[in-house]
C-alpha cells in the first residue's frame, strides 16, 4: 500500500498547484479511484519483497485450467508509481498519474501454458502447504497462501485455488474391494490427489462450471477443469423433461447410478437462494 499512498499524496500536492478547479478536482478523483481500485484488486508489490528481515513474499495466480504462474504487479505500472513519488515537478507527477490511470485499465494477461510452472516437485511442495491466508497481508486480493520456511507464497485464483485436471485409475483394494479412482489436481500427477466421489460432483446452476470436493484447508471446493468436465460429461443424467439441459440429477459410474447430493452448493453463499431452489 505504501507505493500507492505515496503516489496519491504526491498527486494531491501536484493538484494544488493547478489553477483550474475543474482539472484539480478531476485529477484528485482519478487518483483516488485508481488507488482504491488498485488496493482492492491488485495491491502493489514486488516479487520477492522482504517486509521483514529473513522473510520473502511471492505472488502467484491459478487459472481455470489449473495453470499456476507468477503474478507480477506490472513492472511498467510499478515504474510509473515510482516516478510519480520521486518526481520533483508537480506537473510531471500529475501527468504521470493520468498515465498510470490509463495503464491500470489495460490489464494484459501474460499467464499461459508457456509461463506456467510445470515442475511437479514445486507444485506438490506448494499445494501440500496451501491454506487460507490469515496473515492480514493482502488477504482480500490473495485469499490463499503456501508457507515454505521463510517464504510466503500468496495465491490468487481465477475461480478456485484447487483445480482438478486428470482422473487417475484406481488401485484395487483387494478381492472384495473395487478400484477407486483418484482426481489429480494442479499438475501434481499422482502426488496431488483426492478420492473421486461421483455423487458429490456439482454443476453450478448459473455458471455451468463443474466442481468436486477437496481438502478444507484448500477451500473445500475444487474446480474441475473444462477438459476433464468434457471427459465426465457423457456420464451425467438429466431430468426427463430436460434431457441434456438444466441441472443434472445423477452420475453413472462403474455400473452404479449415483444420485447427486449437491452438497457443495453451501460453499457458494451468494447463490444460495437459487441453488436451494433447484435442489
Amino acid at each position: 500500500m505504501f507505493f500507492l499512498l505515496a503516489a496519491k499524496q504526491k498527486v494531491a500536492a501536484a493538484a494544488l498547484s493547478l489553477r483550474n478547479a475543474g482539472r484539480r478536482r478531476r485529477l484528485l478523483d482519478a487518483a483516488a479511484t485508481t488507488v482504491e481500485r488498485c488496493a482492492r484488486r491488485n495491491a502493489a508489490y514486488v516479487q520477492g519483497q522482504a517486509p521483514e528481515p529473513h522473510l520473502r513474499e511471492y505472488f502467484y495466480y491459478i487459472d481455470h485450467q489449473g495453470q499456476v504462474t507468477l503474478l507480477d504487479f506490472s513492472d511498467l505500472k510499478m515504474l510509473v508509481l515510482t516516478l510519480i513519488i520521486e518526481s520533483s515537478c508537480a506537473c510531471v507527477a500529475a501527468l504521470l498519474m493520468s498515465f498510470f490511470c490509463q495503464l491500470f485499465l489495460d490489464d494484459t494477461k501474460v499467464k499461459n501454458f508457456i509461463t506456467c510452472f510445470k515442475d511437479k516437485q514445486f507444485l506438490v511442495f506448494f499445494f501440500t502447504r496451501l491454506r487460507p491466508n490469515e496473515t492480514g497481508r493482502y488477504q482480500d486480493q490473495f485469499p490463499f497462501l503456501a508457507l515454505c520456511g521463510r517464504e510466503r507464497n500468496f495465491l490468487r485464483c481465477d475461480d478456485r485455488p484447487l483445480v482438478f485436471t486428470h482422473m487417475l485409475p484406481g488401485v484395487g483394494l483387494g478381492d472384495g474391494g473395487g478400484a477407486s479412482e483418484m482426481l489429480s489436481f494442479c499438475g501434481g500427477g499422482d502426488k496431488l490427489t483426492a478420492p473421486f466421489r461421483p455423487e458429490a460432483l456439482f454443476m453450478h446452476p448459473r455458471t455451468g462450471r463443474l466442481y468436486h470436493p477437496c481438502a478444507n484447508r484448500a477451500g473445500s471446493v475444487g474446480l474441475v477443469r473444462s477438459a476433464l468436465a468434457f471427459e465426465l460429461s457423457p456420464h451425467f443424467e438429466y431430468p426427463p423433461d430436460q434431457p441434456h439441459g438444466g441441472q443434472p440429477t445423477h452420475f453413472l459410474w462403474a455400473g452404479e447410478r449415483h444420485s447427486l447430493t449437491n452438497e457443495l452448493a453451501r460453499h457458494f453463499p451468494e447463490d444460495e437462494e437459487e441453488l436451494t431452489g433447484t435442489n
Binding site: D63, H64, T108, K109, V110, K111, N112, F113, I114, K118, D159, T165, H166, G187, M203, T207, G208, R209, L210, R225, S226, A227, A229, F230, S233, F236, H244, G245, P248
Partner: protein, 254 residues
C-alpha cells in the same frame, strides 16, 4: 459483415505430457498418450467465438484433419461456441505424413467450398512447431495474412491486426478475406461449461475426405530419424575459485 469464419484445430499430445521417442527412432510414442487441442488453436477458437458474440461474423466452423479421434477436438471447439464442425478424414500413413502444406491445401479448398472470408489458425502447433500453415494457406488463396496476432479488430470489410514481432508490435490493416494466426496474448480461452458441452454433442460434424476437396495429401518430406536431446550431464562442484579456473583451463574453455 464477415459471413463465415473457419477455425483450424489440431489434436496434439498434451503440453503437460513428457514426450518419449519410439524405440525405433521413427517418431514419438502417441498410443495411449493424453492428447488435447493445441493451445494456440484454443486461442484461435476463442477469438472466432468472440467475433460471433459481437455479431461481427455469422458462423464459426471448426475444422480438423486426422483420424476418428480428432472429432473429440472438434467437439471441444463446439463446446467453446463454434457452430458446426468439419472432419477431414486422414488416417494411417497419410496422417503420419500430414504436414502444413497438405493442411493448408485442405483449408484453402474448404474456404472456397464454404465461402468463408476469414480463417483463424493457431500460430503454430506444439508438436512440430512449424508455424507454416497460416502463411501457406494465405498464399494458396492469395489472401492477405496477419500472423502472430495479439489483437484483432474487425472494422467493416477491413481487419486491423496487431502483430507480435521481435522488435515489438506491428499494426497492419488487411482487406478481407484474410488469414489470421493467433499468438499467446490474443485472449484467454474460456471455460467450456457443462451445458455448452452438452449442447455441443448435438451440433453437426460433417465428414469429408481430402479427395472430395481435390487435394492430394502425398508428402514430399520423409522423416529419417527422431532422437531425444542429449542427456544433461551432471555438474562438478569445486572448492575455490582457483580450482574453477584450472578446471576451465583443463577443459579448454579458457
Amino acid at each position: 459483415m464477415a459471413a463465415r469464419v473457419l477455425v483450424g484445430v489440431k489434436r496434439v499430445i498434451d503440453y503437460a505430457v513428457k514426450v518419449r521417442v519410439k524405440p525405433d527412432n521413427t517418431g514419438v510414442v502417441t498410443d495411449g498418450v493424453k492428447h488435447s487441442m493445441n493451445p494456440f488453436c484454443e486461442i484461435a477458437v476463442e477469438e472466432a467465438v468472440k467475433l460471433k458474440e459481437k455479431q461481427l461474423v455469422k458462423e464459426v466452423v471448426a475444422v480438423s484433419c486426422g483420424p476418428q479421434q480428432v472429432q473429440e477436438t472438434i467437439r471441444t471447439a463446439l463446446a467453446m461456441g463454434a457452430d458446426r464442425g468439419i472432419h477431414v478424414e486422414v488416417s494411417g500413413k497419410d496422417y503420419d505424413a500430414l504436414g502444413p502444406l497438405q493442411v493448408s491445401k485442405i483449408m484453402a479448398a474448404l474456404a472456397k467450398k464454404e465461402e468463408a472470408n476469414l480463417i483463424i489458425l493457431g500460430k503454430q502447433a506444439i508438436d512440430d512447431d512449424c508455424n507454416q500453415t497460416g502463411q501457406m494457406t494465405a498464399a494458396l488463396l492469395d489472401w492477405p495474412q496477419g500472423t502472430f496476432a495479439s489483437e484483432v479488430v474487425l472494422e467493416g470489410d477491413k481487419l486491423k491486426v496487431v502483430r507480435e514481432v521481435d522488435g515489438g508490435l506491428e499494426t497492419v490493416k488487411l482487406d478481407m478475406p484474410a488469414v489470421v494466426t493467433a499468438d499467446l496474448r490474443l485472449n484467454t480461452p474460456r471455460y467450456a461449461t457443462l451445458p455448452n458441452i452438452m449442447k455441443a454433442k448435438k451440433k453437426k460434424i460433417s465428414v469429408v475426405k481430402p479427395g472430395d476437396l481435390g487435394v492430394d495429401v502425398a508428402s514430399r518430406l520423409e522423416v529419417l530419424r527422431v532422437e531425444e536431446p542429449p542427456q544433461r550431464k551432471a555438474g562438478v562442484k569445486v572448492e575455490t575459485v582457483e580450482d574453477l579456473v584450472s578446471k576451465l583451463k583443463e577443459g579448454g574453455r579458457i
